[in-house]
Amino acid sequence: MHLILFLVFAGFCLGGAINLLIQSHPINSALSLIVVMVSLAVLYLLLGAEFLAAAQVIVYAGAIMVLFTFVVMLLNAGREARTMGSRAARSIGFPAVVAILAVIATVILHAQSLGVARLSDGLTNVPGQTNIELLSTVLFTKLLLPFEVTSVLILIAILGAVALARHDDTDPQGSAERTDK
C-alpha cells in the first residue's frame, strides 16, 4: 500500500515538475506547481511527518500558490517569448541539469544504510510522542535562536518589499533633475 501510494504520488510530483518547466504560459506553470506541492505533502505523510504534510498543504499549496496565481492573473502575464537567450539557456541548461541529477543519483544510490536516519539527541523519535510535540520541543529549546532570528528575516523581507514596491509620489523637482541629465 505504502509503495503504491509512494509510486503514484512520486510520479505526480515528477510529472508536475517537468510540466512546470515545459509549459510556456505562467498560469499553467503555477498550476503544475500546486500539483507538485500537494504530491510532496502526501510523500511527507507517507514518511510519517504529519505536521510537515499539513503545513505543506496549508502554507505552500494554500497560501503561497494562491498568491502566485493571483499575481499571474492580475499582471495578465502572457505566453513567454522564445528568444535567442532562452534557446541558448535551454541547450546549456538541460545537459547541466542531467549532469547534476546524475551526480546526486549516484551519491544517493551508493549511500549505505539509508534506512532510518540516525538523529542526534533532541530529535530522537520517542514512541508515544507525536510529531508536533517533538517539533515544538526542539524549536523552543535546541533551535530557539534560529527560530527567533527568523523574525528578523521576515522583518527585512517586509521592509524590502515596501522600499522596492511602493510607488514614490515623485516630486517634480527631483525627477526633472534626473531626466535632464
Partner: protein, 503 residues
C-alpha cells in the same frame, strides 16, 4: 551548565537589531516632510555600540550559547569588529551622499543595520540552520539595497539578477546542508566534525561539501560563480557597493573558514585542490577581465573577484597559518575596498554622472584630497609595501607556500603584476592634466560624516600596512579558537577519544 547568560553571546546582534527597529519606527513616526538624515546617525551610533559590545565579548569565556547554536570566541569577535567597522563606514558614506530628496532613506539605513545582524550571526553560528537563516538575512538586505535606484534601468536589473542568482546559490547551500544532515543526523558543526571521520556515508558528505562550497563561493564571487558581480556592482548605488563588496564577503569567508577548517578538516584532501583551482581561476579571470573595462565600477568589480582569489590562496595554508592569513586578508581587503568605493562615490556622485575611467582624468587637480586618496587606495590594492594590501598578499602567499602550494603562490604573484597594470592606469589618468575642453564637474563636498568614513578607511589601511602586528596577533588568536574544540561541547573532538567511547 552555562555560566554566561545567553544574551551576552549575541550582544552585538541584539544591539544591531534594536537599532534597526528603532530606525524603522522613528522613520514611521517622523512627519513626512522632515529630513531622514538623522536616522543615519542613529544607525551609525547603534553600529558603533555593537562594535564596542563585540569587543566586550572578548572578556567572556570562549564557548557557545543557546544550546550550542552560536559561538563567541576571538574568531567571531575579529569578524564582528570587521563587519561592524565596514557597515559603519558605509553608513557614514551614505549619510553624506544620499540625495536629500531620495525616497525610503529610513528603510535604507534600517536595511544596512539589519544586514549587519545577518552577517554577524553568520560568523558566530555553529549550527547549519542558523547559518542558513543568517545568510538569507544578509543576502536579502543586500538584494533590496542593490535595487535602490529605481529610476534607472540598471538598478532594478541589478537587484533582480542578484536576487535570482543569489537564491539559486542559496538553494545549493541548503541542499548541501540537507545531505550532510542525512549522513550525520545533525546540523551542529562540532557534532558534524566529530561524526564525519566515522560516518558510513562518505559519498553523501562529499556531495554535501561540494554543494555547500558552490553556495558559499557564489557569495564571495569567486570564479566560476562570479558572472553576477560586474552587472550588480554597476547597477547598485555606489555606497551600497562599498558595503556589499566587503562586509557580506568577509562574513561568507568566515563561514567558509568554519566549514572547511572546523567542520570538515578531515576532508582536506578534497576541498584543498578544489579551492586551489577556484583561487587560480578567480585571480586570472578577474584580472584579465578587469584589464579591458572602461567603467570604473566594473573594473573594481573584476578586481574584487581577483581579490577573492588571493584570499582563497590562503586556504592552501595549513591550520592556523591559513586561517590567520585569510582573516588578515579579509580585513585588509575590506579596509581598502570600502575606501576606494567611498572615493568613487564622492567623485561620480550617487547618480553616477562620471562612470568611466576617462571621467577621472585630472581628478588630482580638481580635488587634490580625493585624487590623492584614490591613488592611495589603488596603491594598496596593487599591494605596494606600507599599505594593508601588501601584508595581506604577503601572508596569504606565504601561507600557500607553507602549505606546499608553491605554484599557487607563483601564479598569485604573476597575477598581482598583471593587476598593477589596470590599477596604475586609473591612478595615472587621475594624475594627468585635466582635459581643457571638458566641462568641469565639481566633486562632492567632503562633509563630516564622509570625512570620518574616509579617515577610518585610510587609518585601517595604514595600520594594517605599517604596524600589522596587532591585527595579525588578533587573527592568530582567532585562528586558534576556530580550530580548538570548544570547551563546553561535551564531545571530544579528536578521533582517538571517540573510538574509546564507542562500544
Amino acid at each position: 551548565m552555562n555560566p554566561v547568560p545567553d544574551i551576552f553571546r549575541i550582544l552585538p546582534e541584539v544591539i544591531l537589531t534594536l537599532t534597526g527597529v528603532a530606525v524603522m519606527l522613528l522613520d514611521a513616526a517622523l512627519p513626512p516632510h522632515w529630513a531622514r538624515r538623522p536616522l543615519g546617525w542613529v544607525a551609525a551610533i547603534g553600529t558603533t555600540l555593537a562594535l564596542w559590545g563585540s569587543l566586550g565579548q572578548l572578556s567572556l569565556p570562549e564557548g557557545t550559547g543557546f544550546s550550542g547554536t552560536i559561538e563567541t570566541s576571538a574568531f567571531t569577535v575579529f569578524f564582528h569588529v570587521l563587519i561592524c567597522g565596514v557597515v559603519l563606514v558605509a553608513l557614514l558614506l551614505s549619510l553624506d551622499t544620499l540625495p536629500e530628496d531620495s525616497h525610503h532613506q529610513g528603510e535604507f539605513y534600517a536595511l544596512m543595520v539589519f544586514g549587519a545582524v545577518g552577517m554577524c550571526l553568520l560568523t558566530g553560528a555553529v549550527e547549519l540552520l542558523l547559518v542558513f537563516i543568517a545568510l538569507e538575512i544578509s543576502s536579502i538586505a543586500t538584494y533590496v539595497l542593490a535595487g535602490y535606484r529605481k529610476d534607472t534601468a540598471r538598478g532594478p536589473e541589478a537587484a533582480i539578477k542578484y536576487f535570482l542568482l543569489g537564491s539559486f546559490a542559496t538553494a545549493f547551500l541548503l541542499y548541501g546542508v540537507a545531505l550532510i544532515f542525512g549522513a550525520t543526523g545533525t546540523t551542529q558543526i562540532y557534532e558534524i566534525a566529530r561524526l564525519v571521520p566515522t560516518a558510513q556515508n562518505h559519498s553523501l558528505i562529499l556531495a554535501g561539501l561540494g554543494l555547500m562550497l558552490v553556495g558559499i563561493l557564489f557569495k564571495v564571487s569567486a570564479a566560476p560563480f562570479h558572472v553576477w558581480t560586474p552587472d550588480v556592482y554597476e547597477g547598485s548605488p555606489t555606497p551600497v557597493v562599498a558595503l556589499m563588496s566587503t562586509a557580506p564577503k568577509a562574513a561568507a569567508f568566515a563561514l567558509l573558514l568554519r566549514v572547511v577548517y572546523e567542520m570538515l578538516p578531515t576532508l582536506r584532501s578534497v576541498w584543498q585542490p578544489l579551492l586551489w583551482v577556484v583561487a587560480v581561476l578567480s585571480m586570472t579571470v578577474g584580472n584579465l577581465a578587469a584589464l579591458r573595462q572602461q567603467n570604473v565600477k566594473r573594473m573594481l568589480a573584476y578586481s574584487s573577484i581577483a581579490h577573492a582569489g588571493y584570499l582563497l590562496a590562503a586556504f592552501a595554508g595549513l591550520g592556523n597559518t591559513g586561517i590567520a592569513a585569510a582573516s588578515f586578508y579579509a580585513a585588509a581587503y575590506a579596509a581598502m575596498n570600502v575606501g576606494i568605493f567611498a572615493v568613487v562615490t564622492l567623485v561620480s556622485g550617487y547618480d553616477e554622472k562620471l562612470p568611466l575611467i576617462d571621467d577621472f582624468r585630472g581628478l588630482i587637480y580638481r580635488s587634490p584630497l580625493l585624487g590623492s586618496l584614490l591613488i592611495f587606495f589603488l596603491v594598496s590594492l596593487v599591494g605596494i609595501p606600507f599599505t594593508g594590501g601588501f601584508f595581506g598578499k604577503f601572508y596569504s602567499f606565504s601561507a600557500a607556500v607553507g602549505g606546499g602550494a608553491i605554484w599557487l603562490a607563483i601564479i598569485g604573484l604573476l597575477n598581482s603584476g598583471l593587476a598593477a597594470a589596470y590599477y596604475l592606469r586609473l591612478a595615472l589618468v587621475a594624475a594627468q592634466q585635466p582635459d581643457a575642453q571638458k566641462p568641469v564637474v565639481p566633486a562632492h563636498r567632503v562633509g563630516i560624516a564622509v570625512g570620518a568614513a574616509l579617515l577610518l578607511a585610510v587609518a585601517a589601511t595604514l595600520v594594517l600596512g605599517i604596524v600589522p602586528g596587532d591585527v595579525l596577533h588578533a587573527a592568530e588568536a582567532a585562528a586558534y579558537t576556530l580550530q580548538a574544540p570548544s570547551t563546553e561541547t561535551s564531545a571530544p573532538a579528536n578521533a582517538v577519544d571517540l573510538k574509546m567511547m564507542m562500544p
